[in-house]
Every structure is written in structure tokens, then in C-alpha cells.
């Protein structure tokens, strides 16, 4: 495709080939080419992942860790191989450190209900950032209320980055037991300086939980180098099906934590009087797990690594740089968060004049087939700080191209004309 309007050419990955792997991108939306810009909410799925799910159900479906027959063995092998695949992807020391959950939210709740209930006491502080998604905010609010502890919010700078001085003061003045922080903000796109945060927190004896829901899909993540204590992420934002998430923590820490949910699979021995718990990681996986989801996640990781996480990050950075540049040319468009593409992931939240984001999103959809998110993006405290009730958000992934950005900008102009 020839470049128009100074549109750059994708240099880091071949979007034409990538797009062919995503069957949904062939459908039309209101008669237009589908421009999917809501991958921060959920990603689309490549044929390879869909094939893996189908193959599992057509060939190997059985409950895991139960039967001794062929199918059960195959299903168990596939499920545990998926765990190994995830462990390798995030740089975990062993597969035992990978706990499968439903999603990032459940992974965070697991920590709050187990480690949190045992550790957080009266007068303790849990530090969260002003950027947090509700999933990394509400569990701590509830835990703090139950334990007579408090949640303190780390401020932002005017640029939309985290105010590390504020965190430092908090760590010095309060008994902070946990710093709960997103790797990348799902609204501002801010990439948080995790290594600085981890150093600060650990220097004051606080643990760190990283909500990596927006990070794991988009850039290389090595949990050992990151050195955080807990890392949570979800599969459906990284090409896998919905309903599979991951909690990572070091083996020793996981060993010391009580189980989360109780029932089958998580037990070692049940008598009428008492029960002992299974080994890691199954201690935290009560009931029949999402085998299909785990297999899909492993297949998604294969796909992502075949493209290359560095290439994906570079591609999204180029898309964001171009989008920021184009949006800056639209009178009335106002972008939330850092201006420097190096400081942000593939997420751009914005407002256009006084057009309500819902109206904007509806018009973009109906007139141009552009899917963006409108609302508070599960980050009401952040929007309150910004003095906004809602914003519009476009988010990118490996299958988006520069044409998508151009259509987005054209569509915004249409919305301005309609609402003007």
C-alpha cells in the first residue's frame, strides 16, 4: 500500500501477513473495514490459537490430573506443558511458580485473600498508584477495611507519570506492606519505572505486586529481572481466550501462603476431620481448571514469540508516535498522559472538545467501523483526578497498521462535524 498523508510504512513487522492470521479482521463493521482499536480491553485471536483450541477438543479433551487413560494423560500433558510455556515466557524459575487463574483480577484477589489476610494488620498501609485499574484498587480497599489498614494513593506528575518522590515519602512515613502498581496504565498508557519502584519498596521492606495485564501482551517481561514479589496478568489481552490468567510469585513465597479456594484438585489428603493441601501450583487451583484456556495461552505465546516481543513493542511505539502526531493536528483533541512514545505503551486516551466519549465512540463505529472504548476504563479514581467523567481510548496491537490510525483520525473529524 502506498503511503498517503505521510503515512509511515510498518518497518518492525509485516502487518499484512499478521492481519491474515486474524479471521475477524476480514469482517465488516457497518459496511466498513473493521478497525479494531480496543485491544487494551481484549485482543483478537489468531487462527493458530483457534486451531489449538479446536484440536484440543477434537483430539484430547478429558479432565486433567484424574484419569489414567490416554485422553486424560494427553490433556494433563497439554495443560502442564502450557504452564511450562508460560513460565519460560515470563522468565520464571520453575513452572511451580505459575498459578493459573481466571484473569488478572482473580490473580490479584488471590494475593489479597491469602497473603493479604495473613500479612496486612491494623495500621498498615497498602500503596497503590493513581493510575490503577479497579482490579488493582478495590481488592486492596476491601482488604484494608477488613484489617483496619489503609490504602494510600501515589500521586502523578503533571506529565501523567508516577510521582516517585510521593512514593518515597509514603514509604518513609507509613508502614507500607505492599506497593500495588500497574506495569502500564490502561488509560494513560504510562509505562511505570518498575525497577525504581521495586528498589524503593524493597528498600523499605514493602512487597510489590505488579498488575501486568497491559504489559505482558506488549513487551518482554522477565519476572526475575523485574524482582517484584507478585505479577498478575491475563490471557485474553494477549491473543488467548478469555478466562485464563496467571499469578506469578517465587516458590518460597507461594509455599508460605494459605490456599485461596477450597475443593477438588487443591488437596493432598481429605479425611472426615481435616484436609492437607496439594503441592504448588495446584494448591491454588481448586476445581477443574480452564484447560482450553491454558492451551490457548501457550499457543498465543508461541505466536507472539514467533513475531517477537521486541518487534511488537517497536511496532506499537511507531503506531503511537504516529497517532500522537496525527491527533495533535485535530483541533480540540486532547491527549491524556505522557507525550513521549518511549514512556507509553500502545494506549492513547483522549477527549475531543466537549463531545461526550460515548457519542464519539458511537459515531466512529457507525460511520467508519472504528472500535474504540469510551468511559472511565475501570479507572474512576484516575478520571476523578483528571476532572473527567469519561474519556475515549484507542489501543493498538500487532495487527493494527498505520491505515487504522488514519481512519481513526478521519472518523474523529466526522464526529466533530456531526456533533459540532
Amino acid at each position: 500500500m502506498t503511503a498517503s498523508l505521510g503515512r509511515p510504512v510498518a518497518a518492525h513487522l509485516d502487518t499484512t501477513t499478521v492481519r491474515e492470521d486474524f479471521p475477524i479482521l476480514r469482517r465488516l463493521a457497518h459496511g466498513h473495514r473493521l478497525v479494531y482499536l480496543d485491544s487494551a480491553a481484549t485482543s483478537q485471536k489468531p487462527r493458530q490459537v483457534l486451531d489449538a483450541l479446536r484440536s484440543y477438543y477434537e483430539n484430547s479433551n478429558a479432565n486433567v490430573h484424574r484419569g489414567v487413560y490416554l485422553l486424560a494423560e494427553e490433556a494433563t500433558e497439554l495443560y502442564e506443558a502450557a504452564r511450562v510455556r508460560v513460565a519460560r515466557f515470563i522468565g520464571a524459575s520453575s513452572a511451580e511458580e505459575v498459578i493459573f487463574t481466571r484473569n488478572a483480577t482473580e490473580a490479584i484477589n488471590l494475593v489479597a485473600y491469602t497473603w493479604g489476610q495473613e500479612t496486612i494488620g491494623s495500621g498498615d498501609t497498602i500503596a497503590v498508584s493513581a493510575l490503577e485499574h479497579h482490579s488493582n484498587f478495590v481488592p486492596w480497599q476491601v482488604l484494608a477495611a477488613n484489617r483496619s489498614a489503609q490504602v494510600d494513593v501515589v500521586d502523578l506528575t503533571s506529565e501523567g507519570t508516577l510521582d516517585l518522590d510521593c512514593l518515597d515519602r509514603m514509604l518513609m512515613e507509613k508502614r507500607v506492606r505492599l506497593v500495588a502498581i500497574a506495569g502500564i496504565s490502561n488509560v494513560m498508557g504510562t509505562i511505570n519505572p518498575l525497577s525504581d519502584i521495586v528498589d524503593l519498596a524493597h528498600g523499605h521492606g514493602a512487597m510489590v505486586l505488579v498488575d501486568a495485564a497491559q504489559m505482558a501482551p506488549h513487551m518482554t517481561m522477565d519476572v526475575r529481572r523485574l524482582d517484584a514479589d507478585f505479577v498478575a496478568f491475563t490471557g485474553h489481552k494477549m491473543l488467548a481466550p478469555m478466562g485464563i490468567g496467571v499469578l506469578w510469585a517465587r516458590e518460597q513465597l507461594l509455599q508460605s501462603m494459605p490456599p485461596f479456594l477450597f475443593g477438588g484438585e487443591m488437596i493432598r489428603r481429605v479425611t472426615e476431620r481435616e484436609t492437607t493441601w496439594n503441592d504448588l501450583p495446584w494448591k491454588f487451583e481448586a476445581g477443574t481448571p480452564n484447560v482450553e484456556g491454558a492451551i490457548g495461552l501457550a499457543s498465543a505465546i508461541d505466536y507472539l514469540e514467533q513475531i517477537g516481543m521486541k518487534q511488537i513493542r517497536a511496532h506499537e511505539k511507531a503506531l503511537v508516535a504516529y497517532a500522537l502526531h496525527r491527533l495533535a493536528d485535530i483541533p480540540g483533541a486532547s491527549i491524556l498522559g505522557p507525550r513521549d512514545p518511549a514512556l507509553r505503551g500502545g494506549v492513547i486516551a483522549f477527549t475531543v472538545g466537549d463531545i461526550h466519549p460515548h457519542d464519539l465512540a458511537s459515531i466512529l463505529d457507525r460511520r467508519h467501523g472504528v472500535c474504540i472504548r469510551a468511559g472511565h476504563h475501570c479507572a474512576q479514581p484516575l478520571h476523578e483526578r483528571l476532572g473527567l467523567s469519561a474519556s475515549a481510548r484507542a489501543s493498538f496491537y500487532l495487527y493494527n497498521d498505520f491505515e487504522d490510525v488514519d481512519v481513526l483520525c478521519d472518523a474523529i473529524q466526522t464526529a466533530k462535524a456531526v456533533m459540532g
Partner: protein
């Protein structure tokens, strides 16, 4: 086959845009200008009510008031009513939100002004759609459209009589 191009069937609730436009009561339509926008939710009726509302504001001494929000999108609607002998003598709405919620508030008040309070009770989703000139709305936008009627009913029936203007 997963490899072939397959178009997913479009759910019925997404098909609302191809219906003829009907005007809300008390609103003149200019069909010539509307025709071009007939396939779009953002047609003149809704946009006009949004941009030039007749009933936006607050009443100084309302007999009934209520305010509520749509937690999903943060839209806020407040309704003030002045009721004399069981008749809505004056009505104003305030708040903020998308064009659908704000237009719905304006159009529904236009409909009930001068009517007995009991009329409010009888209003339904279909009445709101009629005022907006749409046959139906997508699941997410129905909430925007219905918030004003919900608030109006709460105000008219004193579900929250303590909420006086402050």
C-alpha cells in the same frame, strides 16, 4: 472450517438503524434533511434536543427532585418537578452525559409537561424510543436513553423526597 472467510451473523439488536425516523411529540421534523442521516443514530432530532434543549436547568423550589447516574459511563441526570393539583406544571433537567441521555431527558420532559403525574408512571421504554425517533437501541445505549425516565419516575413518585436542591 476456520480458514475460510465467514461472516458472523449480525445480532438482531444491532440492526436498529434502518428504520424510518418518527418524530417525538412537539418536535417538527424536516424530512428532507433527515433522510440523508436516516441510517445514523445521530440524526437531527436527537442532536437538536441535545444542542438546543428546551428543558435544561433547575427549578428554584421544586416539589420533587431526584438525581441518579449511570455507573457504567458516569452520566448524571437530575430532574426538578413543580407539581400543582397532581399536574406537572414545570420540569427541568440538569446533569451531564452523552447526546442520547441528554436528548432523552429533554424530550421526555417535553412530553410530560402539563400532564398529570400519573402519566409518568405509564411511560415505558417504547415511549422513550418514540421520543428519540428510534425503533430500538443497542444494549449499551439503551441505558443512556433510559436513565432520564428512571430519574423522572423516582422524582415523580418521591422515592427520594429528601433530595432537595442544595
Amino acid at each position: 472450517m476456520l480458514h475460510g472467510v465467514r461472516r458472523a451473523p449480525v445480532p438482531v439488536y444491532l440492526l436498529e438503524t434502518s428504520h424510518p425516523v418518527r418524530g417525538g411529540r412537539g418536535r417538527e421534523l424536516r424530512p428532507g434533511r433527515l433522510e440523508s442521516a436516516v441510517d445514523d443514530l445521530y440524526r437531527e432530532l436527537i442532536l437538536d434536543a441535545y444542542k438546543n434543549p428546551r428543558n435544561r436547568g433547575r427549578l428554584e423550589e421544586p416539589d420533587a427532585s431526584y438525581e441518579d447516574e449511570n455507573p457504567l459511563c458516569g452520566d448524571v441526570i437530575r430532574m426538578d418537578l413543580e407539581i400543582r393539583n397532581g399536574v406537572i406544571e414545570a420540569a427541568k433537567f440538569s446533569g451531564h452525559g452523552c447526546a442520547i441521555s441528554q436528548a432523552s431527558a429533554d424530550l421526555i420532559l417535553e412530553r410530560v409537561k402539563g400532564q398529570p403525574v400519573e402519566v409518568v408512571l405509564s411511560l415505558s421504554r417504547e415511549d422513550v424510543f418514540e421520543e428519540l425517533g428510534v425503533e430500538s437501541l443497542t444494549v449499551s445505549r439503551v441505558k443512556c436513553a433510559m436513565l432520564p425516565l428512571k430519574v423522572l419516575k423516582a422524582a415523580a413518585y418521591g422515592m427520594q423526597p429528601s433530595l432537595k436542591p442544595g
